[in-house]
């Protein structure tokens, strides 16, 4: 087990280093960093002055190593757009995004798992069709549009939840529903097929012939095996939520990392964007690793 974890950890670290390399080079070649700091209308002399002042005239590899060693010590660099340390910016905005990510995954669990179980217990009935219909719809509905519809609906017709801002947990209800809805189709389908596979297996038939039935059989026998892949997919989805928060946060005016990313892009603030891309990718890697370890712990066959 330890060997398994160590192996995975090495891959995660290698991928993280590769990704930091790719983002750094991509962003520094997509736009001249000196131009980005100086602004669109800057004169040639001003740009050259900024280039020397900020050290953009040095080789890109040197700047990359300086940046990377800074990141490892918690020094994320200075934001030119916000005039602030990027570390503080991220720290300020992170709690909102973490709350949103956790709440949206809870919404996914609350909707997708019962639907998946119901669909698997009643295959090819109206309930099954209904669940699959919801999956097809949730897959095709644009996130931002769903958010705007919710705002129209809840601001005028049912004023239960606030539609914009991030002061209380109630403010996060609608954004979590919108962000959570996009994970419903994969989780629900997996729950359904997993349970359908298990229901046909020998040990369930044995349990049935021993007199187990109904919810007791489903919860205590079938679910144990069917829920394994679902748990790992949920962990992966949680990793996705950080990067996926951009749209939801800008629709519902939540001051989290996603909105910070959008504002930094529009202000061509390369240091902040760099760190955010890296943080989102790292979050995904960590949750993926967590899912792998959890799966290996629950299912010894995967440890090889």
């Amino acid at each position: 087990m330890l060997r398994f974890i160590a192996g995975r950890l090495i891959v995660v670290i290698a991928v993280a280093i590769t990704l930091s390399f790719i983002t750094f080079f991509l962003l520094n070649y997509a736009i001249d960093p000196a131009q980005a700091v100086a602004g669109e209308e800057a004169l040639f002399e001003e740009i050259e002055q900024v280039r020397i002042q900020y050290g953009f005239d040095r080789p890109i590899l040197e700047r990359y190593f300086e940046w990377a060693s800074g990141v490892m010590r918690g020094n994320f660099g200075e934001s030119y757009y916000w005039n602030k340390s990027v570390y503080l910016l991220v720290l300020e905005r992170a709690p909102e995004t973490i709350t949103l990510a956790l709440m949206s995954v809870s919404v996914t669990i609350i909707i997708a798992i019962p639907l998946g179980i119901l669909a698997a217990l009643n295959p090819n009935t109206i309930i099954d069709r209904f669940a699959l219909g919801i999956a097809v719809a949730a897959q095709a509905v644009p996130n931002f549009w769903l958010g705007l519809l919710m705002i129209i609906l809840f601001a005028l017709t049912f004023p239960i939840f606030p539609v914009s801002g991030d002061k209380t947990y109630f403010h996060f209800v609608l954004p979590s529903i919108v962000l959570g809805a996009s994970s419903v189709p994969p989780v629900m389908r997996l729950m359904r097929t997993g349970l359908l596979d298990v229901v046909d297996s020998d040990y369930i038939r044995t349990a049935r012939s021993n007199g187990f039935y109904g919810w007791n059989l489903t919860i205590n026998h079938s679910m144990r095996n069917a829920v394994l892949p679902v748990v790992s997919v949920l962990a992966v989805q949680l990793g996705h939520k950080f990067g996926g928060s951009v749209i939801t946060e800008s629709v519902f005016a939540i001051n989290g990392l996603g909105r910070l990313a959008l504002e930094s892009i529009l202000g061509t603030d390369i240091p902040t964007v760099q760190i955010l891309v890296f943080i989102f990718a790292f979050m995904f890697l960590i949750f993926n690793l967590f899912a792998d370890i959890l799966n290996a712990y629950l299912d010894p066959r995967l440890r090889k």
Partner: protein, 327 residues
């Protein structure tokens, strides 16, 4: 109904009662006639493509023509709407129906274009990894892990915004970020096919690697690739809409659906149709593409349980006569 009529008119031989003489394409047709989602998705997609190509010519109004005396006219079903502007007008007095119809072209172009770019990258890497195996496979696997970890939307936003948004840039960026599904599917299919007898035979008679890849492997993974392609078109269309909605994709005045929704946001509570109409268009297009893709998967899957039943049943009395006559 109409779908079945067309299918029977075009390929009458596919609907024979003698199941033993069916060719693969006839089996495909017969299965598709029995798949409701496939029929619905295909019909709807064809209608949308038709509207995208001919719609702007039929209504004959330019999507860019402004008339500031006719700003924010309501659509026909809201009080005050008239037949001149069926879907009303936007904040600059441009005809909304014309803009939505024109937006169909942009969504379709970007959806198919980006999926095509992703397909080329994904298939190339997938076949390389599946055919050569070993360190090539491991390298591609590593690339896959990297790509999966990247926050796609955020990176697409950044690159499109920094390079300068245009339709070509959006297509390339979305395509370059969406190849993982193609890779996974084509790699596993190639691994399976390369050890089949006919590939070994081709190898034995001295066919080169390129000949084997292009004439033996690619034609046989196309079935699965088409399914992924359809689903990726839907994903690419949604990505483009998200980028344009956030202001870092297609730029005004080009009528992309995501952009129309972003523009309608200012009048969210007073003219809600400005965001509802393009949203419905986007939803219908992606639903129809996804249903088509799901249908194709069910139909092309050799293990699928869709029946190839013959519609015309042989009456039992005939059978009895036959038995009697044999006596």
């Amino acid at each position: 109904m109409i779908f079945e009529l067309f299918a029977k008119r075009l390929f009458p031989q596919a609907f024979n009662n003698d199941l033993s003489e069916l060719e693969p394409k006839h089996i495909f047709l017969r299965k598709s006639v029995n798949h409701l989602g496939f029929k619905f998705g295909l019909t709807m997609l064809l209608i949308i493509i038709f509207l995208g190509i001919f719609g702007p010519h039929i209504i004959g109004i330019s999507p860019y023509e402004q008339d500031l005396t006719k700003r924010l006219l309501p659509p026909i079903w809201v009080e005050g709407g008239n037949w001149e502007h069926i879907f009303g007008t936007d904040g600059n007095g441009r005809d909304y129906l014309a803009r939505i119809l024109y937006g169909t072209r942009i969504s379709l172009t970007i959806g198919f274009g980006a999926a095509f770019v992703g397909m080329i990258i994904g298939i190339s890497l997938g076949i390389l990894a599946g055919y050569f195996g070993g360190w090539v496979d491991q390298l591609v696997n590593y690339l896959l892990t990297c790509q999966l970890a990247l926050p796609g939307l955020l990176l697409a936003m950044t690159v499109v915004f920094l390079i300068g948004p245009s339709i070509t840039v959006v297509i390339l960026v979305i395509g370059v970020l969406h190849w993982t599904l193609f890779l996974v599917v084509s790699r596993s299919a190639t691994q399976r096919i390369r050890n089949l007898d006919y590939v070994l035979a081709a190898n034995a008679i001295g066919a080169s690697k390129y000949q084997i890849i292009f004439s033996d492997i690619i034609p046989n993974i196309l079935n699965q690739i088409i399914v992924i392609f359809t689903l990726e078109v839907g994903i690419a269309i949604l990505s483009e809409a998200s980028l344009s909605f956030l202001g870092v994709g297609i730029q005004p005045p080009t009528p992309s659906w995501g952009l129309l929704i972003a523009e309608g946001r200012e009048a969210l509570f007073f003219q809600p149709w400005l965001i509802i109409l393009p949203g419905i268009a986007l939803f219908l297009l992606v639903v129809s593409i996804n249903m088509l893709g799901d249908g194709l998967r069910d139909i092309t899957d050799p293990n699928s349980k869709i029946e190839i039943k013959s519609k015309v049943e042989v009456p039992i009395s005939n059978l009895k006569q036959n038995i009697n006559s044999k006596k």
